[in-house]
């Protein structure tokens, strides 16, 4: 067999293994949701109905019949599992809508917010991290690292509130709430500009926390790479320091940074819940907060499942990309 075929087989095997793993994690979250409904204090039907629907005896009876809540647990689990896998995440009695519809309606706003925040934090985190590593031990390094510690230790929701206090209330520069100007009915380019204007505070707030993380990480991995022999060789050859940093060190430091960034996807979701709550951003984080207030458990569990599935997807894509970008990596093989 030619060598290429062997590698392709190995790649296929890797992709299949990785897909299976992702699938089982998602199934695991569904089972976890099911267990939570069972373990919650009170009647599982009442949990599935949420606070708003728990008073409706007819609706509770319907849920009991639908999920066979009087049948043995394995049967109930099967009903629940097959329901979720066919896209039935439950029904929000309060909103009178299927949970999946509610989430899909809010998903684009969250993807916009988290996507922009991720790009913001990677760009500035890597930039500051490289500068700090370059000026190691200097004033610039200490200043950057102090800033990173500060934003790492600040609760996100508080950064958000302080940003509103300063930039919206005191200075009046930026809009404090919502995703676009209510009632303005803008279209086309004017609407894009309006949304971008509303994006600034939420993205910077969410982004600063992660910028702090990536700054620390970039600095650490840059220093790690710069201690290696090939950098010493480049130095001995007389390559200028700026060029070593850009062409040699940064390239090799990228991989750990991106690995870490994909592992942080879950934390980004948690940050979105807090950011969206403060800025009334109409995404799934805000949906989760509203579900908390009205004790709408189907929505709460649905958001949890969808965010977990999204994180699994991001990790999966990242793993497959690394394999493609850097053939040296043969994870799990």
């Amino acid at each position: 067999m030619p060598e290429g075929d062997g590698r392709n087989m190995k790649s296929l095997d890797f992709i299949l293994r990785r897909l299976a793993k992702a699938f089982f994690v998602v199934i695991g979250v569904v089972i976890l949701n099911f267990l939570l409904i069972q373990l919650a204090p009170g009647d599982p039907a009442a949990v599935m109905a949420g606070d708003a629907g728990a008073g409706d005896a007819e609706y509770l009876a319907q849920l009991r019949a639908q999920f066979g809540l009087d049948k043995p647990l394995p049967v109930q689990l099967w009903n629940y599992l097959s329901g979720v896998l066919t896209g039935d995440l439950g029904y929000s009695y309060r909103n009178q809508l299927p949970v999946l519809d509610l989430i899909m309606d809010r998903l684009p706003a969250t993807l916009l917010l988290t996507g922009c925040a991720l790009v913001f934090s990677l760009v500035f985190g890597i930039l500051f991290g490289v500068i700090a590593a370059w000026r190691r031990g200097g004033v610039l390094d200490s200043t950057i690292m102090f800033g990173a510690l500060l934003f790492y230790a600040t609760p996100l929701f508080w950064t958000a509130l302080m940003a509103v206090l300063l930039f919206s209330i005191k200075l009046g520069w930026l809009p404090p709430f919502d995703m676009e100007t209510i009632g303005a009915n803008l279209t086309g380019w004017a609407r894009v500009k309006d949304i971008a204007w509303h994006l600034v505070l939420p993205v910077v707030t969410l982004g600063l926390f992660f910028t702090a993380i990536y700054t620390r990480l970039t600095r650490a991995s840059m220093l790690e790479v710069m201690g290696q022999d090939f950098i010493k060789t480049a130095r001995a050859k007389g390559v200028p320091k700026g060029r070593i940093i850009r062409r040699h060190a940064l390239r090799n430091a990228f991989l750990p940074i991106f690995t870490f960034a994909s592992l942080q996807a879950g934390q980004l979701v948690g940050g979105a819940v807090l950011t969206e709550t403060v800025f009334a951003w109409p995404g799934i984080g805000r949906l989760m907060f509203d579900a908390l207030l009205s004790r709408d458990y189907p929505v709460l569990l649905g958001v949890f499942l969808i965010t977990a599935a999204m994180v699994v997807l991001v990790n999966l894509i990242a793993d497959l990309l690394y394999r493609f970008v850097d053939p040296r990596i043969e994870q799990g093989a």
Binding site: L32, A40, A153, F157, I169, A265, G270, Y297, L300, F304
Partner: protein, 278 residues
């Protein structure tokens, strides 16, 4: 250099220690400094800071003393931070030790389990857990512990894997010591330093998580907490900035203090890393 001298060589670590000592002092003597219920109205409502020397940090909408709230909130933050970390460390150590010591399918199984918990979004899971089991100091502590043990398990597993082939462990095996005894009296004491460093940083994260949960209204309704104070003051931001500013500063200072101590500990127990770090 001794451990204490290496630690003390860090100005940041000393500042952190002083800050944390102050917070601990306030938490320990909250009952003496501010006797009575912090939920009770004591003065005129919405008194700005500096307006009345009796209430240096002002009062909230119901005339509750902000300073008293901060002092009592320190208790909750530290208590939940420390207890949830201890629980997470316990779970992580036990699972990591078993996985690292026995290896094979046990290790495979436990590591898949750990990866599962590491993959799912931690904060969203904590929110769901606390909401479903109704907010109380137990459910909050439990939820934070459940989402934070995986890194400890991985760390302990790695340490156990590298230590189990060392001579002193082999000697214990030859002497016929039982696996349980070897794990906990031979190997575990040698893994304490990295565990302590990790645990100290976990306390900081736990405090941030607790404050975020109570900000969202998932706090224990019987206990004053910093996150709750900020959450309740959210809609009053325009009229009364002090309601949300002071509790936030309290969280920030406490978390910075613990992080500084953690970094100092890290450098003190791993002196060989020092050259690389600075």
């Amino acid at each position: 250099m001794s451990f204490t001298r290496r630690f003390a060589a860090h100005p940041g670590a000393l500042i952190g220690l002083l800050l944390l000592a102050a917070v601990l002092f306030i938490a320990a003597f909250a009952g003496l400094l501010y006797p009575g219920d912090p939920w009770q109205s004591v003065g005129p409502p919405l008194l700005p800071p500096g307006g009345d020397p009796l209430y240096p940090l002002g009062t909230d909408l119901l005339g509750r003393d902000i300073a008293a709230g901060l002092a009592h909130g320190a208790r909750v933050s530290l208590l939940i931070g420390v207890i949830s970390t201890m629980a997470a460390v316990l779970v992580g150590v036990v699972l990591g030790a078993i996985a690292g010591f026995f290896g094979g399918w046990v290790d495979d199984l436990l590591m898949r389990f750990t990866e599962f918990f590491q993959t799912i979004p931690a904060f969203a899971m904590a929110v769901v857990l606390v909401a479903i089991f109704t907010p109380s100091i137990t459910s909050i502590t439990g939820a934070i512990a459940i989402v934070s043990w995986p890194p400890v398990a991985r760390l302990v597993r790695a340490e156990f894997m590298s230590l189990k082939s060392r001579e002193f462990v082999q000697a214990a095996v030859t002497l016929g010591q039982r696996p349980l005894r070897i794990m906990f009296s031979q190997i575990l004491p040698n893994t304490m330093s990295p565990i302590i460093v990790t645990a100290s940083l976990m306390v900081a994260t736990a405090i941030l998580t607790e404050s975020s949960l109570s900000f969202l209204g998932l706090g224990d309704r019987n206990m004053m907490s910093w996150g709750y104070m900020i959450g309740a003051a959210r809609t009053m931001l325009r009229e009364a900035w002090w309601l949300s500013v002071f509790p936030g500063v309290a969280i920030l200072l406490t978390v910075i203090a613990i992080n500084l101590i953690g970094e100092g500990l890290n450098d003190a127990v791993n002196p060989h890393l020092r050259g690389r770090k600075d």
